[in-house]
Amino acid sequence: MKFLKAPLLTLLILSVVGLVFDFALDAYFQLILLYALVNCLLSMSLNLVNGYTGQFSLGHAGFMAIGAYFAAYANTKWDILPPALNALEFFIYCTGAGLFAAVAGLLVGLPSLRLKGDYLAIVTLGFGEIIRVTLLNMDFLGGPRGYSNIPGFSSFLFSFIFACVWLTICFFTIWRVMHSTYGRGFLSVREDEIAAEAMGINTTRMKVRAFVLSSFFAGVAGALFAHFTKFISPSSFTFLQSVNVVIMVVLGGMGSMTGSIVAAFIITILPEALRPLQDLTGVDLRMVIYSLSLILVMILRPKGLFGDQEITAVWRKYARRNS
């Protein structure tokens, strides 16, 4: 059970942090925080494809939508466990949502991952849109009217810890995959596909694996999103949502797990944090400043906040220079 030590410890720390937040923050900050956690899951999972494996996917919102709708539908329609085991039921359906999205990822990935670069971006973008348009035309899922009255979590603490459980699972899964032979395979595909092929790596299979794992966590993120907002409609899963996740990955640094997390927090919090500015300036300059700061960050740090390193490495380098 040694391999569970680090994840459990992380979870314990996060739970304590959650308990503090439960008392210290009001509902508004808590909601933003929950959105940030969902975005963390999204950016970490997309980082696996866009960062580590070097494939450019633009369809993340589609997989998120699948997860969100599955969890919403399952939780409202199927009641398999007694109310006392509510948390377990949520967990099962979140896993289900992830698996559902993973299957979709496999179906999308198998044919399209034979393509490269721009072509892959266009194909994944297309699949993302197909998923959204399909949802628009499914009447039992509310179609364009959206799906409302999704059961949510009873308290902030519950939501926070539930999200953190998934965050921990996601982080350690991807982290450990990246430090295994599979991870080396992913990296080799990114660095040089021909060389990787020559070394006996089935590059398509590697890409599909990364893609499926990434879709799984996108589906879970969608499920969490559905429970947090309690109302979903296809308009939440547009192409812009996919781009938003790509921005997080690029901002954090392609191939940096901690970078993805930090960037997800920045992207979620920044637009909200700029709201008070409106009181000072009188006009709503929020989105102008938001975009400007993104441009500035990319000019000052072209490889993203952390490049392809983790926050620990950046920190160590910084400490060494200062000593």
């Binding site: 959105y35 364009p144 009217r145 907002t229 109302f231 008070p276 960050v297």
Partner: protein, 373 residues
């Protein structure tokens, strides 16, 4: 230096300041001030601001001034939810004036409900919106009523027998109107000869229109938003379709004739109010609105204005500023003389009032008739 800028940039979010003025009753408003349907949000906001200015000039409510905090939701559901949460928890507003789009209201209203803060939507016409709970109101009629109005007008006034429907499947508003129109028109002995669909953002509608033309309908019901309707009108005339187009209040924008040019002239839509009305309340409102913003108010501005005034009247009547007291007074609103007609809030917290039928004539809007519930 580089590092300094970067650090400053990243700590920017932490500099959250909050201003709070004493002796003010704070009302929150959220709307799409940016994004794809920003004209709706901006219009509503202008109406609300005008109403607040007037009320404050006349001495305010309960001897206090009304303060307005407007937040942008970018047209996104989740942003609407966080904007409303912010208004309630950070700004501690006593009531919320909701946005235009029904989808956003559906995401935001339950939050107001669970915090017991009264929520008044100016223009969310989808029936489900006020089902969020007893703190959620609206001052506009609901989608079924607009579908009903047009079906009645089409079969009684225009004597249509066969009508085709072209709906925006992406849009819950459009689908709602089309469904009710279809049911009501059939009930009146008419026939729906074609029911085609398009999606917001489409540019070419010739395939659907050609199919509709083959059925030779007396009229075509297009309950969409002005951008697509303008294009549909043009393409319909290009294909030689003479039948009039009919629609709902989503048509109501100056952009309609900019996009549709002459092709849009002579078509009908249902609306909340018309600038041609001779009602003194309306003429007075238009005069004031023009003086302030130098433009003609559209229906959403009028609804925003009415929503703000109904809310202010309820706050004035209520014994204290608690959510419950204001809610109870809002529910008692009866025959309120608004710009968009005499407004009564029924037991479902929906407004009961009449609708007008308008004919497009270039930049002008010709008032045709008033249809009562």
């Amino acid at each position: 230096m580089k590092r300094l800028i970067l650090a400053a940039l990243l700590t920017l979010p932490l500099l959250v300041g909050c201003t709070k003025k004493e002796n003010e009753i704070l009302i929150g408003e959220y709307d799409s001030l940016t994004g794809s349907d920003a004209t709706f949000g901006l219009s509503t906001n202008k109406g609300v601001r005008l109403a607040f200015e007037e009320i404050n000039a006349a001495g305010g409510v309960k001897g206090k001034k009304l303060g307005l905090i407007t937040l942008d939701d970018q047209g996104k559901n989740e942003e609407a939810a966080s904007a409303v949460t912010r208004l309630i928890t950070q700004n501690k507003v006593v009531a919320i004036l909701g946005g235009v789009a029904s989808g956003r209201s559906k995401a935001a209203a339950p939050i107001a409900q669970s915090n017991s803060v009264p929520f008044v939507s100016p223009a969310s016409t989808n029936p489900d919106v006020t089902k969020a709970g007893d703190y959620v109101f609206r001052v506009c009629f609901i989608d079924p009523f607009q579908g009903f109005v047009m079906a009645k007008f089409s079969s009684e006034n225009l004597k249509h027998k066969k009508v085709a429907i072209l709906r925006d499947v992406k849009n819950d508003y459009s689908v709602g109107l089309a469904d009710v129109f279809s049911a009501e028109f059939k009930k009146r002995g008419g026939e729906i000869v074609a029911d085609s669909s398009y999606q917001a953002g489409d540019i070419d509608f010739k395939a659907q229109l050609t199919q509709i033309r083959s059925k030779n309908p007396d009229g075509i019901y297009v309950p969409g938003y002005y951008t697509e309707v303008g294009l549909i009108a043009q393409q319909a005339r290009q294909l030689g379709i003479k039948a009039p187009l009919m629609g709902g209040d989503g048509w109501d924008s100056d952009k309609l004739s900019e996009i549709g040019k002459e092709a849009i002239n002579g078509n009908y839509y249902s609306n909340h109010y018309t600038v041609e009305s001779s009602d003194p309340a309306v003429t007075e409102f238009i005069k004031k609105f023009k003086a302030k913003y130098n433009e003609t108010p559209d229906a959403l501005a009028a609804l925003g204005y009415d929503a703000a005034r109904i809310l202010a009247a309820a706050i004035e009547r209520s014994p204290d500023l608690s959510g419950k007291a204001i809610r109870d007074e809002l529910a008692k609103t009866k025959d309120f003389g608004g710009v968009t007609g005499k407004i009564t809030l029924n037991e479902n917290r929906d407004a009961v009032k009449s609708a007008v039928i308008i004919q497009v004539d270039g930049k002008n809007r010709k008032y045709i008739s008033t249809i009562s519930p």
